[in-house]
Subunit: 159 residues, 2 copies
DNA sequence: ACATGTTATGTTATAGTGTAACACATGATT
DNA sequence: AATCATGTGTTACACTATAACATAACATGT
Protein backbone atom coordinates (compact mmCIF):
# COMPACT_ATOMS: atom_id res chain seq x y z
CA UNK A 1 0.00 0.00 0.00
CA UNK A 2 3.02 2.25 0.14
CA UNK A 3 2.89 2.62 -3.61
CA UNK A 4 -0.58 4.14 -3.71
CA UNK A 5 -1.16 7.16 -5.86
CA UNK A 6 -2.70 10.31 -4.55
CA UNK A 7 -4.58 11.42 -7.64
CA UNK A 8 -7.56 12.28 -5.49
CA UNK A 9 -5.69 15.19 -4.02
CA UNK A 10 -4.36 16.44 -7.31
CA UNK A 11 -7.21 18.75 -8.23
CA UNK A 12 -7.13 20.47 -4.88
CA UNK A 13 -3.37 20.67 -5.08
CA UNK A 14 -3.55 22.33 -8.47
CA UNK A 15 -6.12 24.79 -7.20
CA UNK A 16 -3.90 25.63 -4.25
CA UNK A 17 -0.86 25.99 -6.46
CA UNK A 18 -2.73 28.21 -8.88
CA UNK A 19 -3.86 30.49 -6.07
CA UNK A 20 -0.40 30.73 -4.57
CA UNK A 21 1.13 31.40 -7.94
CA UNK A 22 -1.38 34.16 -8.71
CA UNK A 23 -0.66 35.89 -5.43
CA UNK A 24 2.93 36.19 -6.63
CA UNK A 25 1.97 37.35 -10.13
CA UNK A 26 3.13 34.04 -11.46
CA UNK A 27 1.26 31.02 -12.72
CA UNK A 28 1.08 27.29 -12.36
CA UNK A 29 1.87 26.49 -15.95
CA UNK A 30 1.30 23.13 -17.68
CA UNK A 31 4.98 22.29 -17.27
CA UNK A 32 4.92 22.97 -13.56
CA UNK A 33 1.64 21.14 -13.21
CA UNK A 34 3.12 18.06 -14.82
CA UNK A 35 6.03 18.01 -12.38
CA UNK A 36 3.62 18.52 -9.52
CA UNK A 37 1.48 15.64 -10.79
CA UNK A 38 4.44 13.28 -10.91
CA UNK A 39 5.36 14.11 -7.34
CA UNK A 40 1.73 13.76 -6.27
CA UNK A 41 1.56 10.29 -7.77
CA UNK A 42 4.34 9.00 -5.52
CA UNK A 43 4.47 8.70 -1.79
CA UNK A 44 8.25 8.80 -1.90
CA UNK A 45 10.78 11.47 -2.73
CA UNK A 46 11.93 11.59 -6.32
CA UNK A 47 15.15 12.85 -7.83
CA UNK A 48 14.95 15.43 -10.58
CA UNK A 49 16.02 12.85 -13.11
CA UNK A 50 13.40 10.40 -11.85
CA UNK A 51 10.84 13.06 -12.66
CA UNK A 52 12.39 13.57 -16.06
CA UNK A 53 12.10 9.87 -16.81
CA UNK A 54 8.51 9.82 -15.59
CA UNK A 55 7.66 12.60 -18.00
CA UNK A 56 9.72 11.40 -20.93
CA UNK A 57 6.84 9.29 -22.22
CA UNK A 58 4.55 12.27 -22.64
CA UNK A 59 6.99 15.10 -23.17
CA UNK A 60 10.67 15.81 -23.47
CA UNK A 61 12.01 18.02 -20.72
CA UNK A 62 15.61 18.95 -20.20
CA UNK A 63 17.04 18.72 -16.67
CA UNK A 64 17.11 22.47 -16.33
CA UNK A 65 13.36 22.64 -16.97
CA UNK A 66 12.72 20.11 -14.24
CA UNK A 67 14.90 22.04 -11.84
CA UNK A 68 13.18 25.30 -12.70
CA UNK A 69 9.77 23.80 -12.09
CA UNK A 70 10.93 22.30 -8.82
CA UNK A 71 12.34 25.61 -7.71
CA UNK A 72 9.01 27.26 -8.39
CA UNK A 73 7.07 24.57 -6.57
CA UNK A 74 9.38 25.00 -3.60
CA UNK A 75 8.89 28.77 -3.67
CA UNK A 76 5.15 28.43 -3.38
CA UNK A 77 5.60 25.94 -0.57
CA UNK A 78 4.20 22.78 -2.12
CA UNK A 79 7.43 20.88 -2.52
CA UNK A 80 10.45 20.41 -0.32
CA UNK A 81 13.95 19.33 -1.17
CA UNK A 82 15.33 16.61 1.06
CA UNK A 83 18.98 17.51 1.27
CA UNK A 84 20.00 14.16 2.69
CA UNK A 85 18.46 12.37 -0.31
CA UNK A 86 19.01 14.96 -3.05
CA UNK A 87 15.33 14.37 -3.75
CA UNK A 88 12.07 16.22 -3.81
CA UNK A 89 8.82 15.51 -2.00
CA UNK A 90 5.34 16.88 -2.15
CA UNK A 91 4.40 18.32 1.21
CA UNK A 92 1.29 16.53 2.34
CA UNK A 93 -0.26 19.35 4.29
CA UNK A 94 -0.17 22.99 3.36
CA UNK A 95 2.50 24.20 5.78
CA UNK A 96 0.96 26.69 8.23
CA UNK A 97 2.70 29.86 9.29
CA UNK A 98 5.22 29.30 12.10
CA UNK A 99 4.50 25.58 12.20
CA UNK A 100 7.53 23.37 12.79
CA UNK A 101 7.52 20.28 10.62
CA UNK A 102 9.79 17.29 10.90
CA UNK A 103 10.46 15.18 7.85
CA UNK A 104 11.27 11.69 9.08
CA UNK A 105 13.15 9.98 6.28
CA UNK A 106 13.64 6.24 6.55
CA UNK A 107 17.13 5.17 5.49
CA UNK A 108 15.87 1.74 4.63
CA UNK A 109 12.62 2.07 2.71
CA UNK A 110 12.82 5.74 1.75
CA UNK A 111 9.37 6.61 3.04
CA UNK A 112 8.93 10.11 4.42
CA UNK A 113 6.67 10.88 7.33
CA UNK A 114 5.79 14.47 8.07
CA UNK A 115 5.18 15.30 11.68
CA UNK A 116 4.07 18.60 13.08
CA UNK A 117 5.62 19.27 16.46
CA UNK A 118 4.70 22.38 18.44
CA UNK A 119 6.85 21.15 21.32
CA UNK A 120 9.97 20.92 19.18
CA UNK A 121 8.99 24.20 17.60
CA UNK A 122 8.95 25.85 21.00
CA UNK A 123 12.27 24.50 22.28
CA UNK A 124 13.95 24.98 18.94
CA UNK A 125 12.70 28.55 18.79
CA UNK A 126 14.19 29.30 22.19
CA UNK A 127 17.48 27.65 21.34
CA UNK A 128 17.83 29.50 18.06
CA UNK A 129 16.88 32.79 19.67
CA UNK A 130 19.54 32.24 22.33
CA UNK A 131 22.06 31.77 19.54
CA UNK A 132 20.73 34.82 17.65
CA UNK A 133 20.14 32.63 14.67
CA UNK A 134 17.20 33.11 12.32
CA UNK A 135 16.15 29.90 10.56
CA UNK A 136 15.31 30.04 6.88
CA UNK A 137 12.50 27.57 7.33
CA UNK A 138 10.78 25.67 10.08
CA UNK A 139 11.20 22.36 8.34
CA UNK A 140 13.78 19.89 9.51
CA UNK A 141 14.95 16.60 8.22
CA UNK A 142 15.66 13.57 10.40
CA UNK A 143 17.18 10.42 8.98
CA UNK A 144 16.58 7.11 10.69
CA UNK A 145 14.53 3.94 10.62
CA UNK A 146 10.78 3.73 10.53
CA UNK A 147 8.89 1.27 12.71
CA UNK A 148 8.14 -1.13 9.85
CA UNK A 149 11.76 -1.36 8.85
CA UNK A 150 12.91 -1.76 12.45
CA UNK A 151 10.52 -4.66 12.82
CA UNK A 152 11.82 -6.25 9.63
CA UNK A 153 15.39 -5.83 10.81
CA UNK A 154 14.70 -7.41 14.20
CA UNK A 155 13.05 -10.37 12.47
CA UNK A 156 16.06 -11.03 10.27
CA UNK A 157 18.55 -10.44 13.09
CA UNK A 158 16.84 -11.86 16.17
CA UNK A 159 18.67 -11.17 19.38
CA UNK B 1 39.24 36.41 12.23
CA UNK B 2 36.95 33.88 10.67
CA UNK B 3 39.87 32.50 8.74
CA UNK B 4 41.90 31.51 11.79
CA UNK B 5 43.44 28.11 11.87
CA UNK B 6 42.99 25.66 14.69
CA UNK B 7 46.36 23.97 14.55
CA UNK B 8 46.55 24.12 18.32
CA UNK B 9 43.79 21.53 18.55
CA UNK B 10 45.26 19.30 15.89
CA UNK B 11 47.47 17.20 18.13
CA UNK B 12 44.66 16.42 20.51
CA UNK B 13 42.38 15.72 17.59
CA UNK B 14 44.84 13.26 16.12
CA UNK B 15 45.20 11.56 19.47
CA UNK B 16 41.43 11.27 19.77
CA UNK B 17 41.10 9.98 16.24
CA UNK B 18 43.85 7.44 16.78
CA UNK B 19 42.16 6.14 19.92
CA UNK B 20 38.78 5.87 18.27
CA UNK B 21 40.26 4.14 15.26
CA UNK B 22 42.08 1.63 17.43
CA UNK B 23 38.93 0.74 19.31
CA UNK B 24 37.46 -0.26 15.96
CA UNK B 25 40.56 -2.18 14.93
CA UNK B 26 41.29 0.45 12.36
CA UNK B 27 43.84 3.22 12.21
CA UNK B 28 44.18 6.90 11.60
CA UNK B 29 46.51 6.63 8.64
CA UNK B 30 48.60 9.46 7.18
CA UNK B 31 46.06 9.90 4.40
CA UNK B 32 43.19 10.26 6.84
CA UNK B 33 45.25 12.50 9.08
CA UNK B 34 45.92 14.85 6.18
CA UNK B 35 42.23 15.18 5.42
CA UNK B 36 41.53 15.76 9.09
CA UNK B 37 44.23 18.42 9.20
CA UNK B 38 42.74 20.29 6.26
CA UNK B 39 39.33 20.33 7.91
CA UNK B 40 40.90 21.38 11.21
CA UNK B 41 42.60 24.33 9.55
CA UNK B 42 39.29 25.83 8.45
CA UNK B 43 36.43 27.10 10.50
CA UNK B 44 34.07 26.53 7.58
CA UNK B 45 32.71 23.45 5.85
CA UNK B 46 34.69 22.24 2.86
CA UNK B 47 33.60 20.25 -0.15
CA UNK B 48 35.46 17.05 -0.97
CA UNK B 49 37.03 18.73 -3.96
CA UNK B 50 38.06 21.72 -1.85
CA UNK B 51 39.97 19.28 0.30
CA UNK B 52 41.49 17.72 -2.77
CA UNK B 53 42.72 21.12 -3.96
CA UNK B 54 44.10 21.90 -0.52
CA UNK B 55 46.13 18.70 -0.60
CA UNK B 56 47.19 18.85 -4.22
CA UNK B 57 50.28 20.87 -3.35
CA UNK B 58 51.70 18.20 -1.09
CA UNK B 59 50.16 15.09 -2.51
CA UNK B 60 47.94 13.88 -5.29
CA UNK B 61 44.74 12.31 -4.06
CA UNK B 62 41.91 11.14 -6.27
CA UNK B 63 38.35 12.10 -5.31
CA UNK B 64 37.59 8.57 -4.21
CA UNK B 65 40.42 8.67 -1.69
CA UNK B 66 39.09 11.90 -0.23
CA UNK B 67 35.63 10.39 0.07
CA UNK B 68 36.97 7.27 1.69
CA UNK B 69 38.87 9.28 4.25
CA UNK B 70 35.83 11.44 4.93
CA UNK B 71 33.66 8.39 5.40
CA UNK B 72 36.10 7.04 7.94
CA UNK B 73 36.31 10.33 9.81
CA UNK B 74 32.53 10.44 9.94
CA UNK B 75 32.39 6.88 11.25
CA UNK B 76 34.63 7.73 14.18
CA UNK B 77 32.52 10.80 14.87
CA UNK B 78 35.01 13.56 14.17
CA UNK B 79 33.49 14.88 10.99
CA UNK B 80 29.95 15.55 9.88
CA UNK B 81 28.49 15.94 6.42
CA UNK B 82 26.30 18.97 5.98
CA UNK B 83 23.70 17.74 3.56
CA UNK B 84 22.40 21.18 2.74
CA UNK B 85 25.88 22.28 1.69
CA UNK B 86 27.27 19.03 0.34
CA UNK B 87 30.20 19.83 2.55
CA UNK B 88 32.09 18.45 5.48
CA UNK B 89 32.89 20.00 8.85
CA UNK B 90 35.05 19.08 11.75
CA UNK B 91 32.91 18.69 14.84
CA UNK B 92 34.26 21.10 17.42
CA UNK B 93 33.40 19.10 20.50
CA UNK B 94 33.58 15.37 20.88
CA UNK B 95 29.89 14.52 20.57
CA UNK B 96 28.66 13.00 23.82
CA UNK B 97 26.37 10.02 23.97
CA UNK B 98 22.68 10.97 23.55
CA UNK B 99 23.52 14.63 23.18
CA UNK B 100 21.44 16.52 20.65
CA UNK B 101 23.50 18.91 18.58
CA UNK B 102 22.22 21.57 16.22
CA UNK B 103 24.41 22.71 13.36
CA UNK B 104 23.40 26.28 12.57
CA UNK B 105 24.56 26.97 9.03
CA UNK B 106 24.52 30.56 7.83
CA UNK B 107 23.27 30.89 4.25
CA UNK B 108 25.15 34.09 3.84
CA UNK B 109 28.64 33.68 5.29
CA UNK B 110 28.78 29.88 5.51
CA UNK B 111 29.85 29.78 9.12
CA UNK B 112 28.64 26.85 11.18
CA UNK B 113 27.74 27.16 14.83
CA UNK B 114 27.29 24.02 16.87
CA UNK B 115 24.82 24.24 19.69
CA UNK B 116 24.00 21.59 22.22
CA UNK B 117 20.34 21.66 23.19
CA UNK B 118 19.02 19.31 25.85
CA UNK B 119 15.60 20.96 25.57
CA UNK B 120 15.32 20.23 21.88
CA UNK B 121 16.72 16.78 22.56
CA UNK B 122 13.94 16.12 25.00
CA UNK B 123 11.03 17.30 22.86
CA UNK B 124 12.49 15.77 19.74
CA UNK B 125 12.93 12.48 21.53
CA UNK B 126 9.30 12.45 22.58
CA UNK B 127 8.08 13.39 19.12
CA UNK B 128 10.15 10.74 17.42
CA UNK B 129 9.11 8.12 19.95
CA UNK B 130 5.47 8.99 19.33
CA UNK B 131 6.06 8.41 15.64
CA UNK B 132 7.96 5.15 16.33
CA UNK B 133 10.89 6.57 14.48
CA UNK B 134 14.50 5.86 15.46
CA UNK B 135 16.90 8.62 14.41
CA UNK B 136 20.24 7.63 12.93
CA UNK B 137 21.97 10.49 14.71
CA UNK B 138 21.18 13.23 17.14
CA UNK B 139 22.67 15.89 14.96
CA UNK B 140 20.45 18.23 13.02
CA UNK B 141 21.10 20.92 10.53
CA UNK B 142 19.37 24.28 10.46
CA UNK B 143 19.91 26.74 7.64
CA UNK B 144 19.39 30.41 8.26
CA UNK B 145 21.12 33.70 8.95
CA UNK B 146 23.60 34.35 11.72
CA UNK B 147 23.42 37.49 13.81
CA UNK B 148 26.38 39.14 12.10
CA UNK B 149 24.91 38.65 8.66
CA UNK B 150 21.48 39.84 9.80
CA UNK B 151 23.07 43.01 11.10
CA UNK B 152 24.89 43.54 7.83
CA UNK B 153 21.67 43.02 5.89
CA UNK B 154 19.73 45.48 8.01
CA UNK B 155 22.44 48.08 7.50
CA UNK B 156 22.31 47.78 3.73
CA UNK B 157 18.52 47.64 3.66
CA UNK B 158 17.41 50.01 6.39
CA UNK B 159 13.70 49.93 7.06
C1' DA C 1 -0.82 49.20 -32.88
C1' DC C 2 3.48 49.84 -30.65
C1' DA C 3 7.01 49.79 -27.37
C1' DT C 4 8.32 48.08 -22.95
C1' DG C 5 8.92 45.03 -19.13
C1' DT C 6 8.22 40.64 -16.94
C1' DT C 7 7.40 35.85 -16.82
C1' DA C 8 8.30 31.41 -18.73
C1' DT C 9 10.54 28.09 -21.72
C1' DG C 10 14.07 26.21 -25.12
C1' DT C 11 18.81 24.83 -26.14
C1' DT C 12 23.43 23.72 -25.47
C1' DA C 13 27.05 23.01 -22.87
C1' DT C 14 29.32 22.48 -18.58
C1' DA C 15 30.22 22.30 -13.56
C1' DG C 16 29.99 19.86 -9.26
C1' DT C 17 29.29 15.74 -6.35
C1' DG C 18 29.82 10.96 -5.50
C1' DT C 19 30.67 5.60 -6.65
C1' DA C 20 31.65 1.11 -9.00
C1' DA C 21 34.92 -2.14 -9.97
C1' DC C 22 39.09 -4.22 -9.75
C1' DA C 23 43.94 -4.54 -8.68
C1' DC C 24 47.38 -4.22 -5.34
C1' DA C 25 49.65 -3.63 -0.93
C1' DT C 26 50.10 -4.09 3.99
C1' DG C 27 49.60 -6.04 8.37
C1' DA C 28 47.63 -9.20 11.62
C1' DT C 29 46.13 -14.22 12.81
C1' DT C 30 46.53 -19.09 12.69
C1' DA D 1 53.06 -20.19 4.42
C1' DA D 2 48.17 -19.52 4.08
C1' DT D 3 44.43 -16.74 5.23
C1' DC D 4 41.76 -12.82 6.27
C1' DA D 5 40.80 -7.94 7.05
C1' DT D 6 42.26 -3.35 6.26
C1' DG D 7 43.84 0.27 3.38
C1' DT D 8 45.22 2.42 -1.04
C1' DG D 9 45.77 3.17 -6.30
C1' DT D 10 43.70 3.62 -10.76
C1' DT D 11 40.33 4.10 -14.17
C1' DA D 12 36.19 5.00 -15.53
C1' DC D 13 31.64 6.37 -14.76
C1' DA D 14 26.98 7.90 -12.68
C1' DC D 15 24.32 11.24 -10.68
C1' DT D 16 23.07 16.05 -9.44
C1' DA D 17 22.77 20.76 -10.68
C1' DT D 18 23.64 25.23 -13.06
C1' DA D 19 25.54 28.90 -16.59
C1' DA D 20 24.64 31.43 -20.51
C1' DC D 21 22.06 32.93 -24.07
C1' DA D 22 18.07 32.93 -27.12
C1' DT D 23 13.22 32.98 -27.71
C1' DA D 24 8.39 32.96 -26.68
C1' DA D 25 4.26 34.44 -24.41
C1' DC D 26 1.80 37.68 -21.94
C1' DA D 27 0.62 41.89 -19.61
C1' DT D 28 0.48 47.02 -19.33
C1' DG D 29 0.60 51.62 -20.61
C1' DT D 30 0.75 55.05 -24.44
ZN1 LIG E 1 11.65 17.90 4.44
ZN1 LIG F 1 11.31 2.21 6.52
ZN1 LIG G 1 26.02 19.09 11.15
ZN1 LIG H 1 26.52 34.63 8.55
Amino acid sequence: MAQMTRSTDLDGLIALGTARARSRRQSLTPLRTQVLAVLAAQSRPLGAYDIQRALSASKHMSPISIYRSLEFLMEIGLVHRLATQSAYVLLKRPPAENETLLCLVCRSCGEVDEVSSPAVGQTLGSTLAAASFTPASRLMEVEGDCSDCRRRMSLSHPG
